[in-house]
Symmetry: C2
Subunit: 419 residues, 2 copies
């Protein structure tokens, strides 16, 4: 379904109208719609990869980095994977209609709190075209319409994906305006999306810390803040050496480019001589550059001196910072100062230290003796992940489909009035 | 405990530090703190009423309306009622520490989602000094610190109340900076509060629609939007006459100045001749002015002609607008256009109409055959009410203590890493 060229506001109004009928779709209808979208994306593989080739060519011409070009790239295999991800979302249980609370007033009036779709979800994101399909599928599965604003670098790819999705909706008898984009309107489209109170119910930005900061600061539409992770692991005085080595290496190396990868390792001074040499050796063997303080540098070779800026850096690369702390209090204070409140883990054999860490660290996910890489909707058993919320309002930590719903109270009486 | 004169930012930083210890208080400690606050407010009755007399004198001098002066007024009886409200909040169950979800990963890692305090709650509100005590008590009961910004008209009264509360906290060994105000800093204080991301976790504005609109639009701190209610009752074709008359009168007259009072009555054309005369007669007998469309005016005497502006007006007075609609679709469309998404009720004997109304009206509370005045935390059994959220993020409808908490995932392992 081609998009009519109108204004961002008209586009969002169409999405708002579509949201009304999408909210009333049954579980089966939503499953069928997503299955149809998955099929349409596969059927359109040639058009999608052709559009993507053009985006890649433009990107290479304008000097995009190899890493960004790789994120942008969609070949037939990746298109197939995108479609499969939609099928997985189709198979998840419907989050709409769940009864969350039931009460009966003394006068017999009944109260039922049910999960309902938000209405229209907006998303502003960067160069990964998979987000286009992912967010649209998650929004539709939870009964919402969606307004997308992707990165300029992926504009043609996104347009091809959106065309496929809109066509699939129309073929199911669903209003195709439920999947909207404001991409052609550039920055103005993003700006209007951030100020579309009354048309858009919630904005989910996905991308760099800077993008998210901009959206949070500028939007008058409520935002769910996701992502940025300056993640800490504390090796406590009593940390087991094998766990310390395995967990730190896993948390850094298994996938360094993601938000739940560890960025700073704090080491209790009483464990420094025992743990630092082995942990650093394992990290270095895995290709990691360790940015350490002066004590770390005396305990291990090839340590790059850490500067203040290192404690504030989300490397997203094979780099990690390491600092010796006097005690648990200093560790907690360091985390308070530098954490983005995403995930922190303590490795310890001391139940009291573990309990204090769990109670006092103010992050979405707080762990004992395990890898920060587990902070993930899939790992948590949600089946799909909308993002990882680092704010405290509405949703905190990995978000599944349930977090794309709001609630409504249904109140049923038989003529009762308030006395 | 006197406040030291610093900047709004320093005040909020002190609250942030205090929030760390308040979050760790036990249920008993929080109860004791609130009991102590209630006692301190009663013990300070003379100082509080003296400060209030000065506020009232200034207010009368600057031409405040009688209604506003009445809201502002605190005599010994009202101070006593304030203290009792705090004791009621003390008696509520602790919302902190509730286990909201528990999962075990296949590898044995356990996940526990628990309710935790937000940290620092900000509130911007108008001339009712009871809000000062109410919000502070609700925040503390849920383990939060609070930063208050009340109306200028109540400045001395609020200062006296805050002094009493801070003294009570200090006497319990709790950091008195957990109750903060930025009142002395005027508009600048409000502005800094709205932009205190990182210091203040959530803002709860209370007051006029204009105040709330300003806070929602200006804040970069997440806001929970409360209050404004352009509330509708639809008298369907099959509405019972006795219920229609009793419910409309109750919803308008029982307390016209509050957000859950009805403002617009829609009447199905097939029921107009049957219902309008009696409903209007009962309303007029209770002193209500009916602003009706031309059909309403032919069915009842003394109807003031309704203009477009009437459908957009939250009267908060003994006025109501009344309109005849062709059918349920037109009623739903009218509600969509003019409702503030607070509460709407249908009076009907038709199960299909009731079901459509419940499903399609996009408001926090949707009712069948009962009075909109029931949208209230107390009536819902929450024991206390933070406000009525008209937004969809985090909380929707009446908010109790639970809505002043966020969540945290506690993850416990034994050396597991991600494969």
């Amino acid at each position: 379904m081609a998009l009519t060229t109108t204004s961002p506001r008209e586009r969002m109004t169409l999405a708002r109208v579509a949201a009304r009928s999408v909210a009333l779709l049954s579980d089966d209808e939503k499953r069928a719609a997503l299955t149809s979208i998955a099929d349409a994306i596969e059927a359109d593989t040639d058009a999608i990869t052709a559009a993507n080739s053009e985006d890649l060519q433009r990107g290479a011409g304008s000097g995009l980095s190899t890493a960004l070009l790789d994120r942008l790239k969609l070949d037939a295999t990746r298109v197939h994977a995108l479609a499969d991800a939609v099928r997985e979302i189709a198979a998840l249980p419907d989050p709409v209609g769940r009864v969350l609370d039931e009460r009966v007033m003394a006068n017999g009036v009944t109260l039922t709190k049910v999960a309902v779709p938000f209405g229209v979800i907006g998303s502003i994101y960067e160069a990964r075209p998979n987000v286009t399909v992912d967010i649209a599928a998650l929004a539709l599965r939870s009964g919402n319409a969606v307004v997308l604003r992707g990165g300029t670098a992926a504009e043609l790819t996104n347009a091809a994906l959106i065309t496929a999705m809109r066509g699939a909706l129309a073929s199911c008898g669903i209003d195709p305006e439920a999947v909207q984009t404001v991409d052609e309107f550039g920055r103005e489209g993003a700006r209007e999306l951030m100020h579309a109170r009354g048309l858009v119910d919630v904005l989910v930005p996905r991308g760099s810390a800077q993008l998210i900061e901009t959206v949070v600061t500028e939007s008058s539409v409520p935002v769910i803040e996701t992502g940025a992770g300056i993640v800490h692991i504390l090796l406590d005085a009593t940390a087991r050496e094998d766990w310390a080595r395995e967990i730190v290496v896993n948390a850094k190396v298994q996938r360094p480019s993601v938000c739940n990868a560890v960025e700073t390792v704090l080491v209790h001074r009483d464990a420094a001589a025992r743990l630092v040499p082995g942990v650093v050796a394992d990290l270095q063997a895995a290709g990691v550059t360790v940015h350490g303080d002066s004590v770390v540098a005396t305990l291990a070779p090839d340590v790059v001196p850490a500067e203040e800026a290192d404690w504030m850096t989300e490397y997203l690369s094979l780099d990690v910072s390491m600092k010796i702390v006097e005690n648990l209090d200093e560790a907690l204070a360091h985390i308070r100062s530098y954490s983005t409140h995403h995930t922190e883990s303590i490795i310890t054999d001391d139940a009291a230290s573990a309990a204090r860490f769990l109670a006092e660290v103010d992050s979405a996910v707080v762990m004992v003796n395990t890898s920060t890489r587990f902070t993930d909707g899939g790992e948590f058993g949600f089946g799909a992940e909308v993002g990882i919320s680092t704010q405290k309002l509405h949703a905190r930590g990995p978000m599944g489909l349930a977090e794309l719903t709001s609630t409504k109270w249904l109140v049923r009486g038989a003529g009762q009035v308030r006395l």
